[in-house]
């Protein structure tokens, strides 16, 4: 059975580097025809920001990867595992991914939380009407590479090749 992977990119496309998450998903979608992406059940979702109802998108996934612009992560991007956390994001209209995982756990106490990761891409300007900054545009390519590499690893782990030296799935 193919691994079920949800990639959730969020941000406002009209606010400069906040568009990084949705833009990365556009690029990933454009590569759907690649053989290695055929080896998984990939769903790409985008929204302006994470909200409580997005916890209802997570059940049944083998893995969830969130993609967002970040104001302080080391450039070009970081990929880190996530754990549920009732963090400070409740104080705004938007949730952090960790808080969303906590919501998932609270509304689905009997379900196992899938492994979740956050791909943070360094952004620099976020004003309404700003275009993507040149630095962020460069980070986008690096982030796509890292995301693809991560997804390939999941494919290999789910269905190891007969030849262990052959990783080109």
């Amino acid at each position: 059975m193919k691994p079920q992977i949800l990639v959730f990119g969020y941000g406002n496309p009209a606010r400069g580097d906040d568009a990084l998450g949705p833009l990365l998903l556009e690029q990933l979608e454009a590569r759907r025809a690649n053989d290695w992406l055929q080896a998984i059940e990939l769903e790409c979702l985008t929204d302006f920001q994470l909200q409580i109802e997005h916890a209802l998108d997570m059940p049944g996934r083998d893995q969830v990867i969130f993609v967002d612009a970040h104001t302080r992560c080391p450039p070009p991007c970081t990929l880190e595992p996530l754990q549920p956390c009732a963090d400070h994001s409740y104080t705004s209209h938007a949730l952090t991914p960790a808080a969303l995982l906590q919501v998932f756990r609270d509304i689905h106490p009997a379900r196992e939380l899938p492994p979740c990761f956050l791909l943070s891409i360094r952004g620099y300007r976020f004003e309404l009407g700003d275009p993507l900054s040149p630095q962020a545009e460069a980070h986008l390519s690096a982030a796509l590479q890292q995301l693809e590499q991560h997804i390939r690893q999941q494919v290999v782990q789910a269905d190891p090749p007969a030849d262990p030296y052959c990783l080109s799935v």
């Binding site: 941000g11 302080r72 943070s120």
Partner: protein
């Protein structure tokens, strides 16, 4: 009125407390308090810092882009901007009357937006204060704690919101950035499968919405004395109204009532709004202060949103919500209800109305029609007004011969509530904080007052790494004496 707390004399001698940004509102808000040596409040102001650039964002774009473009103004109510823009550009293509199917699809879309936005606000942002107390431990005042302590209530909130989002997705074809409404109509018909998908859950949604009204009412009445007087201000109210006096969210005339419930103006063509509403500028705020011209800037400020709409209407055209409205009106004993916390009660009555109206529209014979677009003669000016979840929303555009927007003016509901929110925090500051040692719990009282209005400060950016709340205590020279973050003292 608490205008005596708007501007202090000799502010340089006073101690300043800043809440920056205000939490659980969309975007960035800042409250500043000036206190004297005995902790008496001398000045209280709410500053909105994200209201620049809307018009600039829109000017220079072709009008047909606007229904999609303006959704990006706000991460919480994109559909409201989408529909206000669509109503304005209908006029630019010479259309004053949509086909029955297009009109009903837009209304259905709008009810979906109203449902999801109100559910988010009540269950996620405000119920923690009401369930656990305004001064309860900060770590408990959140949706996660609600889900832990009241799992059924929390889950209903999540699912109500999800249903509203699904209504939007069925009509627009996708969750965000959809193109449901276009100039003169709608872009896509609703299929039988899409309609049936929504119909299968709608009765459950109506039942949960009824539970939400009961919860909001019971929470309000559980401490009637405090909730009545908390952030209590008396104001005029304004919003759209149907010709027969019914509650109306999508299209109608403007009605304003004064604080005693007497009509100021009624069934006004909203395209004449500039004759009746003006905006005052104050040097300490980026956000303007609208007022009713006939009453002047001092007395002409008003409130919009759920409390205004429920106070202003004569009936609600769906049975369960009308019963709930009658109970609300009975509480006011024939007078408008003025307590700011009553916004939550009114908001849940609107959720119930939205759920009932969604069911009616899904069963309407026109809803799956395919006659979607009307055309007319080009015009150069269009004004679209709707009742967004937070209140009356104005989009006003002028275009040139090339169909490029040359002028845009937006009045969002949070702007209309600007004076009221400032009055509310001044009332709270004067009642609860005056002479007290400032604590996080007391400062949260100010935020509870602001959150009653569900201000949408229209900052859809949410980049990680930003601290949502900082409290800074500064001396008269504005040097930082101490800084408090949620759960951290530095």
């Amino acid at each position: 009125m608490y205008t005596h707390l708007e501007t202090a004399e000799s502010p340089e001698t006073l101690r300043r407390v800043v809440i920056d940004p205000v939490t659980r509102v969309e975007g960035h808000g800042k409250v500043t308090l000036l206190l004297d040596e005995e902790n008496h409040v001398r000045q209280a102001r709410l500053h909105i810092v994200e209201f620049r650039g809307f018009e600039r964002f829109i000017q220079g774009r072709p009008y047909w882009e606007l229904p999609v473009l303006v959704q990006r103004l706000c991460g919480i109510c994109p559909v409201s901007h989408h529909l206000a823009a669509a109503k304005a550009i209908d006029q630019l293509v010479g259309v004053d009357q949509l086909t029955p199917t297009a009109d009903k699809l837009r209304r259905l879309l709008h009810f979906g937006q109203m449902l999801q936005s109100h559910a988010l606000h009540f269950f996620h942002l405000s119920s923690p204060d009401l369930l656990f107390g305004f001064a309860s431990e900060a770590a408990r005042r959140n949706i996660v704690a609600v889900l832990e302590a009241y799992p059924e209530t929390g889950l209903k909130g999540v699912r109500l919101r999800k249903f509203g989002q699904e209504v939007i997705r069925m009509i627009c074809g996708k969750r965000v950035h959809g193109t449901g409404a276009i100039a003169g109509g709608m872009n896509k018909a609703l299929s039988r499968e899409e309609r049936d998908y929504l119909l299968q859950d709608v009765d459950q949604i109506i039942a949960w919405s009824g539970d939400a009204v009961s919860l909001a009412r019971d929470l309000y009445l559980s401490d009637r004395e405090q909730h009545d007087r908390f952030a209590y201000i008396r104001s005029s109210f304004m919003g759209l109204i149907r010709p027969d006096g019914a509650l109306e969210f999508y299209h109608g005339g403007l009605r304003a009532k004064d604080e005693r419930g007497q009509i100021i103006f009624d069934h006004l063509d909203y395209r004449q709004y500039t004759d009746y509403l003006h905006e005052q500028v104050k040097p300490w705020s980026y956000m303007k202060f609208p007022y009713i011209v006939s009453l002047g800037p001092e007395r002409g400020w008003y409130r919009v949103g759920p409390l205004a709409r429920i106070n202003n209407c004569e009936f609600i055209p769906t049975p369960l919500a009308e019963t709930a409205r009658q109970a609300f009106a009975g509480y006011g004993a024939g007078n408008p209800v003025h307590g700011s916390l009553a916004f939550h009660w009114a908001r849940m009555i609107e959720v119930l109305h939205a759920a009932e109206a969604i069911r009616e529209l899904l069963l309407d014979a026109d809803i799956m029609g395919t006659d979607l677009v009307t055309r007319g003669e080009k015009r150069y000016e269009g004004i679209g007004v709707i009742e967004a979840p937070r209140g009356t929303l104005f989009h006003h555009y002028c275009v040139n011969d090339e169909d490029i927007v040359t002028r845009a003016n937006l009045i969002v509901s949070t702007t209309s509530n600007n004076t009221a929110m400032n009055e509310s925090i001044r009332q709270v500051a004067a009642t609860y904080l005056d002479g007290q040692t400032v604590t996080e719990g007391l400062l949260n009282h100010l935020e509870v007052a602001i959150r009653a209005y569900d201000p949408c400060l229209s900052c859809a950016t949410h980049a990680l790494g930003q601290m949502p709340l900082e409290l800074e205590l500064l001396d008269a020279e504005e040097r930082v004496i101490s800084r408090i973050q949620r759960g951290v003292t530095a």
